[in-house]
């Protein structure tokens, strides 16, 4: 029978078929953080249950941790401090490995896990965080779960899993100079909509993804959830295998050979049928920036802000009006040239070393514009040190950027890094929801290079207009 990659992964992890729509799915790796796991551990204790397979679980303090520069990291607020200490207590009690507050390798869970080789092709990876779709970049089925399900995984190492439908998004062609994976995925989300992939696992294929680095593929799969997808996959190729082998230091000898052989099979069969297919041409992509309060409210940098009156349905008119009211932009106006007061470079979408290099390339020879506050929050301790070793940190600091400690930070603003009412922010994150980065704050999602261009000009700017100064 011809199967999609998604079905192969599900079949290979099915412990039992529960009914027509649900299977008991074995989970290879379960990641946890300090804010969606406490009630799960409490539930476990309440029922006198134990963690069934502690070695398949790992926790990272990521969401509440402050990012102010400094060698010792202290969570001063009582409630988040308790979340971190409670996570430590739970991990100790249940023998679960932890990347704690003071650990030099601490960071955003979705940056930490793959950079140390914990994500491998063919795995099922889950986490109480919606951006777990990131791992599809390595051919692992990743998806976010709620706290009830976190408790279920802790107790059983499985999930009751509702099967998704298959969607394929093929993008051939070459991304034009100045455009990135972020622009491409924003373009795709703009076309298919914030619920365009609801109920589906997306398989991305085509030469555009083949040409991408693994870090760029992380960005694409990370944001698939913003189209409503229940997962995202890219069939692992030589690049993916190389990425994993360089980091998974335990993989050698017979185990390595067996792994390589298995990974060869991780692709959709030639005649596999997808419920929905989309096609795009990478050469149509331009730098994209969101203008509204949903990730699908996005236009190419040269485009005009949509007019509510021209929307085809009442809900579309309503949401366009609502978004423009919140973002304070005018229908029909260009987005380019809009003044910003803040720049945030960070998040599980775009805070890896490749992203910071892209920022540095634009910033070299320039300075943060007057009146703009620009923050860089590296994705992990390892990314931070790498950037420091490459001179990126000093370049950015000299240019007026704040160089901070790793964490989720202002992507969701639950650690104290929060914007004031009315502040407009150029952000490399994944969600431009109302109030996401602070009540009344306005988020414009864009690529790291575009955020860097906004930082040095003080306005939303087409990065392709800026001349690049090479080192």
């Amino acid at each position: 029978m011809n199967r999609t990659l998604y079905r192969k992964l599900v079949d290979a992890h099915t412990v039992a078929q529960l009914d027509e729509q649900n299977v008991l799915l074995f989970c290879d790796l379960h990641l946890m953080n300090e804010y969606t796991s406490p009630q799960a551990f409490a539930g476990l204790d309440e029922h006198g249950r134990r963690v069934l397979m502690p070695g398949q679980n790992v926790a990272v303090v990521s969401h509440v941790i402050p990012t102010q520069p400094g060698t010792i990291r202290v969570i001063r607020e009582a409630a988040p401090a308790l979340q971190a200490s409670n996570l430590r207590k739970n991990c100790e009690q249940h023998d679960i490995p932890l990347f704690d507050t003071q650990d030099a390798l601490q960071g955003i869970e979705h940056v930490v896990a793959p950079e140390h080789g914990m994500i491998r092709p063919g795995m099922v990876v889950i986490c109480g965080d919606s951006h777990t779709t990131t791992y599809g970049a390595l051919g692992a089925l990743g998806f976010g779960i709620g706290t009830s399900e976190v408790e279920h995984v802790l107790a059983t190492q499985t999930l009751v899993y509702r099967l998704a439908k298959d969607m394929r998004i093929r993008v051939d062609g070459v991304l034009p100079v100045g455009t990135t994976a972020k622009d491409l995925i924003l373009m795709v989300i703009g076309h298919i909509g914030a619920q365009g992939a609801r109920g589906h696992v997306i398989e991305f294929c085509g030469t555009a993804f083949e040409a991408m680095s693994i870090e760029s593929r992380f960005t694409v799969c990370n944001m698939a959830v913003e189209a409503g997808a229940r997962g995202a996959l890219i069939a692992p190729d030589r690049k993916a295998v190389k990425y994993v082998l360089e980091r998974a230091t335990d993989l050698h000898g017979v185990a390595r050979d067996a792994a390589l052989q298995h990974w060869e099979t991780l692709h959709s069969d030639e005649a596999a049928v997808f419920h929905v297919e989309h096609r795009f041409d990478a050469s149509d992509a331009a730098p994209h920036v969101t203008w509204g309060t949903s990730p699908d409210q996005v236009i190419p940098i040269g485009g005009a802000i949509p007019d509510p009156a021209r929307q085809t349905s009442a809900p579309m008119r309503r949401s366009t009006e609502q978004a423009l009211r919140y973002t304070g932009l005018a229908a029909g106006a260009p987005l380019e040239g809009t003044a910003i007061q803040h720049v945030f470079i960070g998040s599980c979408t775009n805070a890896r070393i490749e992203d910071l290099r892209a920022v540095a390339q634009v910033v070299r020879g320039r300075h943060v514009a007057k009146g703009v506050r620009a923050m860089v929050v590296p994705g992990s301790g390892a990314v931070k040190r790498q950037a420091e070793a490459e001179g990126i940190a000093s370049l950015l600091m000299d240019a007026g950027f704040e160089w901070r400690e790793p964490g989720c930070s202002m992507c969701l603003a639950m650690n104290g890094d929060i914007l004031a009412d009315g502040v407009r922010c150029a952000s490399t994150t994944n969600r431009n929801f109302e109030g996401r980065q602070g009540r009344g704050a306005i988020t414009h999602l864009m690529s790291p290079a575009m955020a860097a261009a906004a930082a040095v000009t003080g306005t939303i700017t087409d990065v392709r207009r800026l001349e690049t100064h090479h080192a």
Binding site: T36, G55, Q102, D103, L105, G144, A314, P315, R431, G435
Partner: protein
């Protein structure tokens, strides 16, 4: 009010598309290690102004809407963050059901796991329910969980739930306990899985062990092959 399998009460309209879980339960209410107090945070920025005063014009703040138990809302309700706090907050506020053309996927599972009823109906039906909900006089709704039927002033419609979710709505079940009846099968599966895929066994604990403990004060032992 819910009596056995009948949910009968007042509904309120929230004509917002893509109402995400960040808005349903904002960040400042996510700092607990238990589930308490989330009713305060529900739809906070919509219910309260920047100074914490009730916005009198917001539908749930109107006196005649004090006992609302059902929300009728736009498509993709509950999209975004996986935070189950959104579901807990809705329930603690007194919401028993949400009706929409569609729901965010993780939110949907979270709601089912907490017996919060989600009713998915076509746009046109939702528009008519929204119109009924708009005026307190016509805002009564009657939902039969057994027959999966919704009735209001101008709507009489059937909705669907998967068989499993339907059972979960009708009776409180210990889902983990039920899955634990498969424990021997799970352990057997894991043994075979790791025999053929040894590189998937204890990856987390092995990696943590190999990295060693790297306290910040002592510098860093491992940079990862990041380049």
């Amino acid at each position: 009010m819910r009596e056995k399998h009948i949910l009968s009460g007042k509904m309120a309209p929230l004509a917002i598309e893509n109402l995400d879980t960040d808005q349903i339960m904002p960040k400042q209410f996510l700092h607990g290690i238990d589930k308490a107090g989330l009713d305060k945070g529900l739809l906070y920025d919509l219910r309260f102004d920047a100074e914490g005063r009730k916005r009198p014009d917001f539908v749930l703040n109107r006196p005649e809407r004090a006992d609302v138990e059902v929300l009728v809302t736009g498509a993709n309700f509950g999209c975004g963050s996986s935070r189950e706090h959104a579901v807990w907050g809705l329930q603690q506020y007194g919401i028993q059901a949400v009706l929409a053309p569609s729901f965010g996927e993780i939110f949907y599972s979270n709601a089912m796991n907490n017996q919060l009823l989600l009713v998915m109906l076509p746009e046109e039906e939702i528009a008519r329910l929204m119109a009924d909900a708009d005026s307190p006089e016509t805002s009564h709704i009657h939902i039969d969980l057994e027959t999966l039927r919704v009735r209001s002033c101008n709507v009489d419609a059937f909705f669907t739930l998967s068989e499993r979710h339907h059972r979960m709505q009708l009776e409180r079940r210990d889902l983990i306990g039920m899955s634990l009846t498969y424990q021997a099968q799970i352990e057997h599966f894991a043994r075979l899985h790791w025999e053929t895929h040894p590189w998937m066994k204890n990856v987390a604990s092995h990696t943590r062990q190999q990295l060693g403990h790297t306290p910040r004060a002592q510098g860093i032992a491992h940079l990862g092959g990041i380049a």
